[in-house]
């Protein structure tokens, strides 16, 4: 059994299961724990790193990804995992999500998908379904939900998956695969929020989720599969492309910069007016 830890989560929250899974994944990854860095934003999900024994950069709301990019570029030797909620990752940080996928870095993006702003007490998030009512949308959410998986596939992410907090074994294999995948890997994790989302409950998901047998490798088929929602909800690797090369990162950390190096910068052409 895991030792009991103090968290800021509600009893029954799907994040507990995800935390347990991460703990297990980290324990048997072929990577030293001190080489793992979690970045996160702000939200209930974004507290995740605080409850795991790894390095972390728990930054600002919406900003789990830019620090992850900075860390990976500065220290390619580190295993970088960004963790946040749907609001943080796809709302406040939505542009970072799109742009980070374009950077072709070997990082993992994990999202607690509860279709709600949990920490701020139940407002619509970018993935809240149309017409769902809450305090700030008493007449029902007027917006269409964003489809993070289809978006990720469209943006060229080479590894796109969906997990479910109600199936820990499956989730564990998925997250492990995502971390070990060489390239940007996205895992959107269905995470029931017992306090503010009375629709997408454990029971609701259990009736609907089905496991994909093998990773899809065709982008268009992947997008069609990512589009399935409602009656049937696929979990597993929705898209995997092992051919997409990662970006080469130059070593800069602790590589000395000599006097001759800086002297080489003298007598340079002026580049002004910009």
């Amino acid at each position: 059994m895991e030792p009991k830890i103090e968290t800021g989560w509600c009893p029954g929250c799907g994040n507990f299961a995800i935390r347990d899974v991460l703990e297990k994944v980290f324990a048997d990854l072929p990577i030293l724990r001190n080489k793992i860095v979690l970045t996160s934003g702000i939200g209930q999900a974004a507290k995740m790193p605080q409850y795991l024994d790894v390095n972390y950069f728990n930054g600002l709301h919406g900003r789990s990804l830019p620090p992850a990019v900075g860390i990976k570029l500065a220290r390619p030797d580190l295993t970088v995992i960004a963790y946040s909620g749907d609001g943080c990752m796809y709302g406040e940080g939505g542009n970072h999500f799109i742009q980070t996928l374009r950077r072709r870095l070997d990082i993992t993006i994990l999202v607690s998908e509860n279709q709600v702003y949990g920490l701020t007490k139940g407002q619509s998030s970018p993935t809240t379904a149309l017409a769902v009512k809450n305090d700030l949308s008493p007449g029902g959410n007027p917006n269409l939900p964003l489809n993070p998986l289809a978006l990720a596939v469209t943006m060229g992410a080479p590894f796109v998956a969906r997990g479910f907090a109600g199936d820990k074994e499956h989730l564990k294999a998925l997250i492990r695969e995502a971390i070990l995948f060489k390239g940007t890997a996205v895992v959107d994790i269905l995470q029931p929020c017992v306090s503010f989302n009375k629709i997408n409950t454990y029971a609701w998901y259990r009736e609907r989720v089905f496991k994909l047998e093998r990773p899809l490798t065709d982008r268009y088929e992947a997008i069609r599969t990512a589009d399935l929602w409602g009656e049937k909800i696929p979990i597993g690797v929705i898209y995997r492309n092992d051919e997409a090369p990662c970006r080469e990162i130059k070593e800069i950390f602790q590589v000395p910069l000599t006097k001759a190096d800086v002297a080489s910068r003298l007598h340079m052409r002026c580049v002004m007016m910009r």
């Binding site: 860095v37 702000i42 950069f57 600002l60 070593e251 800069i252 910009r274």
Partner: protein, 542 residues
């Protein structure tokens, strides 16, 4: 002896190329000069002008007097600038420059040769021989340059304003080059940014350096991402910088606050331009001092540098990284369009070349990122170097870096962070004084006005007026020790600033209780010239 030349033309006509080639050759020929420009926020058309002051002694500002020579590549140059030509000055009219273009094209088969020919004419006017020009020419352009003297001879202007070359091993720097160079010396290895005038040339410098040095430049999707990337890189162990202008910095503010709370070292360069909003994108102002001073929610220590010369820029940029690292705080480098786009000559021996290497202390598993210590500074290390886990938190946190809402701990953590301000004050960079200690008046200034003020004060002294100058390269924090030696309270005090409201004047009052008698302000988007300041100050002093 000095020679002031203005080259005016539409964007894209080549006036900038003339400035670049001329200043390059002047440097190789050991001339002292200063060059700056006035340009519009467009790529083609409009009216831009480039100003070069060539002298037999160091010059670091626009003279502001009449031009010895004006070259017109467009019609507007004549209308706008000819009234400011000396009576015996040389005016190369639109017709003349067209003639140069047509003949150069005929002779060399390339219209590009016309720019070089204009450079050659200017050099001939100051007495450079064709042989010397050929020696200093850019590759493949020796013939073009040599031939161009013929125009000057034909028009009877060869040697009209002779200037001797008196610089010893000169090196030229524009303001942003100096800032970026200083950053490299400070150990900066990572720059993230999003293009915005007048900061883009800093990004350019790093992207170029990254081609062959252990340095990384990342073009971010926006300024929010830029500063957060830089903070990520800094957390991971690499000294980092973000560079932008006021509008971009507005987006970076959350990152400043994040650096304050997480005690992550970062240097932020802000190249100011006139606001509000998009303002005048390619002109100059010192309008963002208050903004940068107060940027970021919450209370945390910071330092603001606003260097005013090339060497000071290099030194303060280097120091910014050292301070930022030792105190784990955000440090700002304020510059502006005027300084960014001006070229100065310094002598090679003045250039600092020592690189600061970052220390990477190693700890064991008992490491706590925010350990409470006597002076508020917790030992800093980076992830993956040992069993020490590095936990950084934007929430209020305990020593380990975990969220806390404990009021007692909150207070201790606030005290810890703010305590650093006291130590920073002891390390304040002293202002630069020029003139006589017992002068009756003092001109106070900060940032890019330093050398304009210096020359204006020297001229006032030469005219028998008792005035000195004090320039602040560190604008925050301000400490009593910085002004103690100068008995400012006994002098008439005048503050010179490129903004509309006198922001530094307000800061002097607030921080040091120092009231200023007169403010000399300018907010039309242009820099001060020496003559302009001389006249205004003279009016206030007599």
């Amino acid at each position: 002896m000095e020679f002031n030349v203005l080259i005016g033309g539409e964007g894209g006509q080549g006036a900038f190329s003339v400035e670049l080639e001329l200043t390059e050759i002047l440097t190789r020929l050991n001339y002292h000069f200063f060059a700056t420009k006035h340009y519009m926020s467009r790529i083609r058309g409009g009216h831009n002008f480039h100003m070069v002051r060539i002298a037999d002694h160091p010059v670091h500002a626009l003279n502001g007097g009449k031009w010895e020579m004006i070259a017109a590549l467009d019609d507007e140059t004549e209308a706008l600038h000819k009234p400011d030509l000396r009576e015996d000055g040389i005016f190369l009219s639109r017709e003349r420059t067209k003639e140069i273009g047509a003949e150069s094209k005929k002779l060399f088969g390339e219209i590009r040769a016309a720019n070089t020919a204009l450079v050659g004419i200017i050099l001939t006017v100051i007495g450079v021989t064709p042989e010397k020009m050929a020696e200093a020419a850019e590759p493949g352009k020796a013939e073009w340059l040599k031939k161009s003297g013929d125009f000057a001879v034909r028009w009877g202007i060869a040697g009209a304003f002779p200037v001797s070359a008196a610089a010893v091993c000169p090196a030229k720097f524009d303001g942003n080059q100096a800032l970026a160079f200083g950053a490299l010396l400070g150990g900066c290895r990572f720059l993230a940014g999003y293009p915005m005038t007048p900061a883009t040339s800093i990004l350019h410098y790093f992207s170029e350096a990254a081609e062959d040095l252990p340095v990384h430049f990342e073009q971010a999707e926006d300024e929010i991402a830029a500063i957060n990337m830089a903070l990520g890189a800094s957390y991971a162990g690499v000294r980092s910088m973000a560079a932008t202008s006021g509008g971009g910095f507005a987006l970076m503010q959350e990152g400043v606050s994040l650096a304050g709370m997480t005690e992550t070292p970062i240097v932020i360069a802000v190249a100011q331009r006139p606001g509000p909003a998009t303002g005048l994108p390619t002109r100059t102002e010192q309008g963002d001092l208050n903004f940068i001073l107060h940027a970021g929610h919450g209370e945390f220590p910071r330092v603001l540098f606003a260097p005013g010369s090339i060497v000071e820029t290099i030194e303060l940029a280097r120091k910014a990284f050292d301070l930022s690292d030792r105190y784990q705080i955000p440090v700002f480098l304020l510059t502006d369009q005027y300084f960014a786009d001006s070229v100065h000559v310094i002598e090679e021996e003045e250039i600092p070349l020592d690189v600061i290497a970052r220390e990477c202390p190693v700890f064991d598993e008992t490491y706590k990122r925010y350990r409470l210590t006597g002076n508020g500074i917790s030992p800093l290390t980076f992830p993956g170097l040992s069993d020490a886990l590095v936990k950084l938190d934007s929430d209020e946190h305990d020593e380990e870096g975990k969220i806390t809402e404990d009021p007692e701990l909150r207070k201790r953590m606030m005290d810890k962070r703010l305590k650093k301000m006291g130590l920073l004050k002891q390390e304040a960079v002293l202002p630069t004084f020029c003139g006589a200690m017992d002068a009756a008046a003092v001109v106070l200034c900060w940032g890019s006005n330093r050398l304009i003020v210096k020359e204006a004060v020297e001229r006032l002294n030469a005219a028998g007026l008792s005035v000195c100058a004090l320039h602040f390269g560190q604008v925050y924090p301000l400490t009593p020790a910085m002004i103690a030696p100068y008995r400012l309270e006994a002098k008439k005090r005048i503050c010179v600033e490129n903004n509309a409201t006198g922001q530094f004047t307000g800061l002097l009052k607030r921080e040091l209780g120092l009231a200023v008698d007169h403010k000399v302000l300018k907010c039309d988007g242009d820099c001060f010239t020496v003559l302009e300041l001389y006249r205004t100050l003279k009016g206030l002093l007599t």
